[in-house]
């Protein structure tokens, strides 16, 4: 992969920093990745290549590129960290991909913080981001270098790669206003660079957020990404405590925050404040939400989960979602993704305690189904053992026959 034509331009009130990505190992069309920021924002766009290195390295690995050559000075600390990130992802997802050599004809230059003692939070308006904001306000007093001085909202990373809807933008601004810090919206066409949604969510998400933070690195020396999984259940996903900080440079420290609390604890803290609850954005189906003229669709897994969490805490979801109280029937068509039973399990007991046995039973059914599939996959239970023996002794012959006959 070659990254060339790095440039910054100001047009129609928007500052745009871009680079052209050319593929060397695959017949793919070149892509121009750009970060766009309104010139009115009180933030500055970096003129180095660090953002594009962070954005490109895992994508290069994913597509079998053997090198990433970038026509700009880059920070050696980031280059080392990016190589580490590749190794971590390879170790997690199998060594089917090769390492990526990072090269630059312009040389390596250790970058220096331009605005030391200033931190930002990459802010989606979701449960984890809101909790990171609340915790930061509580633990880091004014003047502390870790106290957030700005929120950064990133456009272009959701499944559709779409811009933020007016309803969502309004919520983000309202939240920032209540927290007393500015929010800046930066757009990046990540989904043009990478259309594989599975790869984006499982491997690339943190790198993309880190790239966005690097694009704004003259304004901060620290940027935080909110953790979706607590440390006791560190699922290997695209934004992770091990991967995100690897994308730090000499000028910018990337942090993965909020590892010490479960999701339900976070929802509970958010539910205690009206301004956070009213401005929550958890939905993964932006189009459906926009269709309902709301920030959340109320029906995707994330929306349903949050509604059930609020129910379990005895808090009304009205205002946060198009519908208020949740009905057990709404969970009927739901199937949990790999590992997500972890989020649902703590909800059963409090739902029962609140007299919502119907909902508790529906949740228990979802968990049981997810675990049955997981046990088979992990070769536990009689079906799982049979699968393991078939693979070990017959090389998977039985499985193939069964699949064919089905």
């Amino acid at each position: 992969m070659r990254l060339t034509h790095l440039q910054t331009e100001l047009r129609d009130g928007v500052v745009r920093r871009s680079a052209r990505f050319d593929w060397e190992e695959r017949p793919r069309d070149p892509v121009t990745l750009s970060f766009s920021l309104p010139s009115s924002a009180e933030l500055e766009i970096a003129d180095d290549g660090n953002a594009f290195l962070a954005a490109g390295v895992l994508v290069a690995m994913h597509h079998g590129e053997r090198r990433l050559s970038i026509d700009a000075e880059i920070c050696p600390r980031l280059a080392e960290g990016a190589a580490m990130a590749v190794e971590i992802v390879r170790a997690w997802h199998g060594r089917v991909k090769n390492p990526v050599a990072i090269e630059t004809p312009r040389g390596f230059r250790l970058s220096i913080p331009r605005n030391p003692g200033s931190s930002a939070l990459l802010f989606s308006g979701g449960v984890h981001a809101f909790d990171a904001l609340l915790e930061n306000r509580e633990f880091f007093p004014s003047g502390h270098p870790r106290r957030f001085t700005a929120l950064i909202a990133v456009e272009g990373l959701d499944p559709a790669g779409a811009a933020l809807s007016p309803v969502r933008l309004a919520r983000l601004r309202a939240a920032a206003g209540s927290a007393g810090i500015p929010v800046a919206t930066i757009s990046a066409n990540f989904r043009e660079l990478e259309s594989d949604l599975g790869f984006v969510s499982r491997q690339f998400f943190g790198a993309a957020l880190a790239a966005t933070a690097h694009a704004l690195s003259p304004s901060f020396d620290g940027a935080s990404i909110a953790a979706a999984w607590d440390v006791s259940h560190g699922v290997r996903c695209g934004s992770h405590a091990f991967v995100d900080p690897a994308f730090s440079s000499g000028a910018l420290a990337l942090r993965h925050e909020g590892l010490n609390a479960t999701r339900l604890e976070k929802v509970s803290r958010i539910a205690a404040r009206s301004w956070t609850l009213e401005n929550l954005i958890v939905c993964t189906d932006a189009a459906a939400a926009e269709g309902r003229n709301h920030a959340n669709c109320g029906r995707c897994e994330r929306c349903l989960r949050t509604r059930v969490e609020l129910e379990a805490l005895g808090v009304s979801a009205e205002g946060s979602f198009p519908e208020g109280a949740i009905d057990a029937g709404e969970l009927e068509a739901l199937h949990l993704a790999f590992n997500h039973d972890y989020f649902w399990e703590p909800l059963v007991a409090p739902l029962e305690a609140r007299g919502r046995g119907d909902l508790a039973a529906a949740v228990a059914r979802l968990i049981a189904e997810a675990r049955r599939i997981q046990a088979w996959f992990d070769e536990r239970g009689w079906k799982g053992r049979l699968r393991g023996m078939d693979r070990d002794v017959l090389g998977g012959f039985l499985g193939r026959v069964l699949r064919r006959s089905a």
Binding site: E80, L110, P141, P145, R146, D392
Partner: protein, 414 residues
């Protein structure tokens, strides 16, 4: 656990930071521990952060329910220690829960001087890190190492198993101190008796060597803004350990960034780099703590044999190893840990190409033995599969029966 700290200046100009540590839940008697240095420590307030960092993991290991310290602590450090503890429990769920931290909250502004420091041992990892720093950081850059911290008292001491009257290394090997000074990094020797707090050396390595070193750096608040630990495990061979790229950074505060560097570089790459770029330093490398006859490196322990073999493989005539190139018997007798088998395997063709076939064969024998063990343990091969299915279907009865017939004990004590 209650920690009461104090700062003193000795008659000879030495700085002392002391802490009286009272265990609250285990019945262990109170103990005083110290750090000292001839280089002045920074602000006295820093002792609270230093001793909290030093004592937190031992307190957790010994199931203390809280750690109360008498000075202000940066919230960054408090949060980082909680995260580090959670990572340890993720690795080892049987570890006790993290103790609660009771301390006044401090706002620690960034250190004004912004010096970067390296924890320097003279081993391959820290030599490589120092040299790389000189290649990548210009002299006026905040990341340019200006201080080399040598922490004495956290290493292994005593004699070699064969009874050789070996000594541990001196407070700061004069040759290495000279090397650092020549590179523009001021040698700073620090002594501590922190090991007295939890004298289990294996536990120090496995859980808290990183936090103990970071504690020493906290004492130089106002002078040192970042302290870098050289990675001893490269990323492909990572395992839970007391100094770790994912954990060490959590021992920092707003005043002090703790970095774990070069985890992406293998030991062999480091050796080859040093042989080409800094041979004079490689000749002085100190890879083990024993000093038979007053010379560094025993030449017999795993690290000496491994380093000597790798140096032979790249054709580097080292001077540091009293025994010279390792003997084939020493290599053949090694027990190679699974993550390092492929590393040893990569040395075999290099040794052969240099006509060192006896060493290559010895390495081959060790690698083959380790591979066999690894395969068995992972349940591969017919023996491994038998073991796996025996455990699944018959709860290990087959293995126990076989062991009984052979008059051996199984690993699970059967």
């Amino acid at each position: 656990m209650k920690i009461s700290t104090s700062f003193e200046r000795g008659a000879g100009g030495e700085s002392f930071a002391r802490a009286r540590v009272e265990w609250e839940d285990g019945g262990t008697p109170p103990r005083s521990v110290y750090f000292s240095s001839t280089t002045p420590f920074g602000e006295p307030d820093a002792a609270a952060e230093a001793f909290l960092t030093a004592c937190f993991v031992p307190a957790m290991r010994h199931a203390e329910r809280r750690v109360a310290v008498d000075g202000p602590v940066c919230p960054t450090l408090t949060e980082g220690l909680r995260t580090a503890a959670a990572m340890f429990r993720n690795w080892e769920p049987r570890l006790p829960a993290a103790p609660a931290i009771e301390a006044r909250r401090a706002v620690s502004p960034p250190a004004p001087s912004g010096r970067a420091a390296i924890f320097f041992t003279g081993g391959i990892d820290s030599l490589y890190l120092l040299r790389q720093n000189r290649r990548t950081a210009p002299r006026d850059h905040p990341a340019f190492f200006r201080d080399a911290l040598w922490v004495g008292g956290l290493d292994f001491s005593g004699s070699l198993p064969d009874g050789d009257a070996a000594r541990t290394r001196p407070p700061f090997d004069p040759g290495l101190a000279e090397l650092c000074a020549g590179e523009g990094a001021e040698p700073i020797a620090i002594s501590t008796d922190l090991l007295g707090l939890d004298p289990d050396l294996a536990a120090l390595g496995r859980y808290w060597v990183g936090s103990a070193l970071a504690a020493a750096a906290h004492l130089f608040r106002g002078r040192v803004a970042s302290a870098s630990l050289a990675s001893g495990w490269d990323l492909r061979r990572l395992m839970p350990w007391g100094t770790h790229p994912f954990v060490d950074r959590h021992y920092g505060s707003a005043s002090l960034a703790v970095r774990h560097e070069n985890a992406g570089v293998s030991r062999f790459e480091k050796l080859r780099f040093l042989a080409e770029e800094w041979p004079e330093a490689l000749r002085r490398a100190v890879v083990c703590n024993y000093r038979p006859g007053g010379r560094p490196n025993c030449g017999r322990c795993y690290k000496c044999v491994e380093t000597g073999t790798a140096l032979a493989a790249i054709g580097f005539a080292g001077e540091s190893f009293p025994a010279g190139t390792p003997l084939p018997e020493s290599i053949a007798a090694l027990s190679i840990a699974p993550p390092y088998v492929d590393y040893w395997e990569s040395l075999i063709p290099l040794l052969r190409s240099r006509g060192l076939s006896a060493l290559a064969e010895a390495a081959h024998a060790s690698v083959a033995r380790s591979r066999r063990n690894e395969s068995w343990a992972a349940g591969r091969g017919w023996k491994g599969r038998f073991r796996r299915w025996d455990r699944r279907l018959f709860a290990g009865a087959g293995s126990r029966g076989y062991a009984a017939l052979r008059g051996r004990k199984t690993l699970d004590g059967g």
